[in-house]
């Protein structure tokens, strides 16, 4: 069953189209990656899904109902975004207490454990936290909310590599015990590539890729070798990216050609490279 269903969704601001006929589905109990460049429309989409923004046109359903001003739907949703404004005079513990009131499935013990894992000073006012510590507060709220639909929009701005790994580990552990729908929007694609089960790539307000992550990882390849050998091997497949140096050619192909790879090396293309090469500003030479 779909946690999220979006059809022909358009969002226009004055003189700017943020989303242009977007259609997608997020299946329940799965980890989805919502990827794209800055300004691609990811945050706008998530704001519409959580009732914080009003779409210009199109159909949006969360757990089968429109989310806008719908308490039955929104009580099952938690949206943690990088730019989330916290009441500055709240202490960490008060922010968690507020989240506990608002979120029906809040797990206080899990929240306590995460506070320790991220070494957060629970009695310090939020306004005195570093950027990374504030991000940790958002991550704790998002995870401990156990909301059936949890959206993270660049949740770890300022977090160091160790803290990010803590986030990935706790997310996976908790997801295994309490499956739910997670939507993760991030630019650190390589770091989250192994977490994702489904990937949606948005570019300039349109869905460019909407596919199973394993399928994507298996399909796209990087081919390197002499210019003649690579051209011969890649014939008939439009490359996503092409670079040439000293007679050696490297191309990124969206799928593996159905012919023997003679004289060329073929490697799976990383999810990050696939995303970079698939966006409109990527190098398509």
């Amino acid at each position: 069953m779909s946690a999220v269903f979006v059809e022909d969704l358009t969002m226009r601001y004055r003189g700017h189209t943020a989303l242009d006929g977007v259609g997608l589905e997020f299946q329940e109990n799965s980890i989805h990656g919502l990827l794209g460049r800055n300004g691609a429309g990811k945050t706008t989409l998530m704001r519409i899904l959580t009732g914080q923004e009003f779409a210009t046109s199109g159909r949006v359903e969360v757990f089968g109902q429109p989310p806008r001003e719908n308490s039955a739907v929104l009580s099952r949703v938690c949206f943690i975004r990088e730019s989330l404004k916290y009441p500055t005079n709240f202490k960490v513990r008060e922010a968690l207490a507020a989240a506990a009131i608002a979120c029906d499935a809040w797990d206080a013990a899990f929240a306590e454990r995460l506070v320790r894992d991220f070494a957060l000073p629970a009695h310090r006012p939020l306004k005195k936290l570093s950027r990374g510590q504030l991000s940790a507060v958002g991550i704790i709220i998002g995870l401990a909310s156990r909301a059936p639909l949890t959206l993270f929009d660049e949740p770890y701005l300022g977090l160091d590599a160790v803290a990010r790994q803590v986030f990935y580990d706790r997310l996976l552990e908790d997801f295994a015990e309490h499956p739910r729908t997670i939507v993760l929007s991030t630019h650190l694609i390589d770091e989250v590539a192994d977490l994702l089960e489904h990937v949606v790539l948005i570019d300039a307000g349109r869905v460019v890729i909407d596919a199973d992550a394993d399928e994507l990882r298996g399909q796209a390849v990087s081919v390197a070798g002499s210019a003649e050998a690579v051209s011969a091997y890649a014939q008939g497949v439009a490359p996503l990216h092409r670079s040439e140096l000293a007679g050696r050619l490297r191309v990124a192909l969206p799928r593996r050609p159905a012919r023997p790879a003679d004289g060329v090396s073929v490697e799976p293309l990383s999810l990050q490279d696939l995303i970079v090469f698939s966006t409109s500003q990527g190098d398509r030479k």
């Binding site: 009732g51 009003f54 001003e69 949206f79 404004k85 916290y86 507020a98 009131i101 608002a102």
Partner: protein, 232 residues
């Protein structure tokens, strides 16, 4: 727990921010004024000493709504509280704030009367124009302006939330322009004095409770409309 109850609980989680600041201010004002009058004996005259120090109570309540709208509202929305639930919760909190103000200030007013002006013949609350014999009317005179101030400040906060700094500037300029137009019209038609007489002839209960109620309805309605359209 229903969504409105959740939003109320989040709003009063920091209860000293939501409710207590005006009371801290008033306690400080009473302490200072009583101390000053005790030292200088300023209230020992036949007419007693009147001070407007209690206005600090209303002035210091003004920031609460700005805090609620610009800091707590976006946080609540992230926690998936609906706009409607937040608006209803705020109405309940403002109503509670007004009731507490009305009852609390009336109790202090009676203490002031019973102690002959805090034992130093000073009047902070039992001012001539505010004075009501009926306890209920006295509570209205103290409580309704509190709700009206909250509504005005909430409306200002919602304008800023919805339209940003430019919107707030336009709102301010518009209000100033409207006031200037009304003043000019009254002056040109030589009716300013009549309007003054009208309000002067009204019972203080009307000026301090009924007309603030109209302000509450107008600004509260505008605030609710803006909040239902607010984007985060």
């Amino acid at each position: 727990m229903n969504p409105t109850s959740k939003a109320v609980r989040v709003q009063i989680l920091k209860w000293n921010q939501t409710f207590a600041i005006p009371w801290y201010s008033l306690a400080l004002a009473i302490t200072l004024v009583v101390a000053i009058y005790a030292v200088v004996g300023g209230g020992a005259s036949d007419s007693g000493g009147h001070t407007g120090a209690a206005t600090i109570f209303y002035a210091s309540s003004a920031g609460t709504q700005l805090w609620l709208i610009n800091q707590l509202f976006p946080f609540c929305m992230a926690m998936s509280v609906t706009r409607g639930a937040f608006v209803r919760a705020t109405m309940l909190v403002v109503a509670a704030e007004a009731v507490i103000a009305g009852v609390g200030l009336t109790v202090l007013d009676r203490i002031e009367r019973a102690t002959d002006g805090w034992f130093v013949h000073v009047q902070l609350l039992d001012l001539p124009y505010l004075h009501q014999e009926n306890v209920f009317a006295q509570a209205l005179v103290y409580g309704v302006p509190m709700a009206a101030i909250s509504a005005v400040m909430a409306c200002v906060g919602a304008v800023f939330r919805t339209f940003g700094q430019l919107g707030l500037w336009v709102f301010g300029m518009g209000a100033a322009f409207l006031a200037a137009v009304v003043f000019a019209a009254l002056t040109l038609t030589h009716t300013a004095r009549s309007v003054g007489h009208f309000f002067a002839s009204q019972p203080s209960l009307a000026n301090l409770a009924l007309y603030p109620l109209v302000v509450l309805a107008v600004f509260g309605g505008a605030w609710a409309l803006l909040m239902m359209r607010a984007r985060i």
